[in-house]
Amino acid sequence: MPKAIRLVGVLTIICVVSALSLSYVFNEIAGPIIDEREKEAAVGMLRDLVPDADDFEIVTDDNDRIIYYEIIKGGRVAYVAIPIESSGFGGPVRLILVADMDGNIEAVSVLNHSETPGYGDRIETEPEFLEQYISKNLIESSFTMGTDITALAGATVTSDAANRAVQRGAEYFMLNFMEGMEDELLEREREEIFAILNEVRPDADEFGYEIEGGQHLYYTIMKEGNVVSYALVSEGRGLNGPVQLLTIVDEDGVIEEIAVVSIVDTPGYGDRVETEPEFLDQFKGMSLTDDRFEIDDTIDKIVGATITSMGAAESIRNAASKWIELFIEGSAAAKPSEEDDPDKIAILREYFSEEYTFENCPAGSGALYAAILDNEVRTYAIFSSKRGLQSDIEVLLFADLTGIIKNVVILSQNDTPSYGDRILEEDWFTDQYIGKSLNESVFNPGDDIDVLSGATVTSTAANDAVIASADTFKSCIQKGAGQ
């Protein structure tokens, strides 16, 4: 046995010494130099690529690793340069991708590679290949090898590697720099739709729109200051790609006009949806809420363009469901605002009559609801939950305006039968809270609150939930009252 310990001991010591010395050399000597050199090389190269830039800013992550460079011109970030890489024939192919803030590619250049001389290294010696990327757009252009980008003959692997790297760069750009551009993309989309509306509804004075979650919900057509019609953009699947239509309806959902936004189907066949107005005219006068839009049933297809016709019908069906979602269901319900959790509203309806409305605090959290009647807050209802023995104990607590507890209801618990579930049966447990104040009372189990003997975990969880409710109440109401 001591022998075995010695064997393992020696090996372990060697491994530990080895790992420690390597990490020292890496972190203290070699690593910083490698980073520094890479930075210098990159900045030198950026200067060549964007000679009129004023300054370069290196953006690093928490570990001091370079993520991208900002190229500053005229006091603002004019371009970003993203180092990209993928593996080629002889090892990684590292490139740098320079684009302006709209995603227009300014330059793609090689940082380093180990590709075969005479073959893969032509990515560097033959600039025509990387020049293909210039003035393409990271967001809008596609980079399919063979169709959008021509590979270097005899250096396919290297070309593919470079292209993969650019695609990754585009992904990175969209994920990290899109936010500022979202509005602009929306604006571009809007201008396109407005141009179509202008054509089909020359009678209108003005067009409006509604945005939610970074998307256009619908457009409005205004005349003399009133909304006269609505327009919805929707999509169906055609033969080669989406069939995108713009459906214009009156306020009851009756179709007034349908225009094509885009169709990528075969000329002479699928595009007849656009060139032969008879087809789309069939939809006029139909109702988005009441009618069905089925080819060969309610709608006649274009002979020779069946799939595209079906795509158009699908597009209209999608418009119809969007319409119903936006205007029919939304108005019929008791108007809970979008963020409200419908389950919780349903629970509250059991305690409050239809005349009440609810306001959530913090907004959208589903925690505290102010029950409002005649524009006045009448009661607060607070949801909270804590982990019990086997499941979450959900508690609903009602308090008056000053924070005095009026009632405590255990909504759900799945804890052990005949132990944990006694919390539902033995009313005295929840009754203990009635009359206490969310602002002032303390709820120490054992002292202030008697726990259910034999169901300590469950009742402690319920008590914790009440304490959480008190915290929610204080943060929501006290803050409001203090102001």
Binding site: S18, L22, N63, S87, Y119, G154, A155, T156, V157
Partner: protein, 192 residues
């Protein structure tokens, strides 16, 4: 996915043949390629170890080295994995299948220092392959290695019948033969 894997296997086995194109695994290539039969035995042992090493090193790279930013320990970890794996495979085969052990046993210790095995593990990481791709790249590389071994062994067996200039007898003519096969293999370049 399947085409991707086929491309990886074909590329590792033929187009970028480990021996003829990437010049990896030369020592066993020159040492064991005397007879077609032993070449096949070595090839089988290498295939087994390479596929397993590819999978294990992938997991180590992703879940240990990258997860804790310890990429600089890659060489140490990988060579230890290969050495341990060879040992385990040897013990396992010895116990479970004495016949297989008889056939492969002598080759196994040689594999630890076969740079093709460590090479495929390192190249998998550099090519950013996923688990499945790594395993198939290992299998492809091993197929390429076996192919090279068997091709050269075939030539060496028939070379024995000829009288050669003394200076070229032995390894020189073997290397030149290998060079000519490698030249033939360049014909596959640019296939994909």
């Amino acid at each position: 996915m399947i085409t991707n894997i086929l491309v990886i296997v074909a590329s590792a086995a033929i187009i970028n043949n480990f021996v003829f194109k990437q010049l990896l695994g030369i020592c066993p290539f020159l040492g064991v390629s005397n007879k077609v039969e032993t070449s096949l035995g070595m090839g089988a042992a290498v295939t087994f170890v390479m596929a397993m090493a590819s999978a294990v090193t992938w997991a180590i790279q992703v879940y240990i080295l990258e997860a804790f930013s310890l990429e600089y320990l890659q060489t140490i970890m990988f060579i230890l994995v290969v050495a341990t794996l060879v040992q385990l495979v040897e013990m396992f085969i010895k116990k479970s299948s004495p016949t297989l052990y008889k056939a492969l046993g002598v080759f196994l210790p040689l594999i630890t220092t076969n740079c093709a095995v460590l090479g495929v593990a390192l190249l998998n990481v550099r090519s950013e392959y996923g688990l499945v791709e790594s395993v198939f790249s290992g299998i492809g590389a091993a197929i390429g290695f076996t192919l090279a071994l068997v091709l050269l062994a075939g030539i060496r067996e028939s070379l024995e019948e000829y009288e050669l200039p003394k200076a070229f007898d032995g390894l020189p003519i073997v290397l030149i033969s290998a060079g000519i096969i490698a030249l033939a293999f360049t014909g596959f370049q640019g296939f994909f």
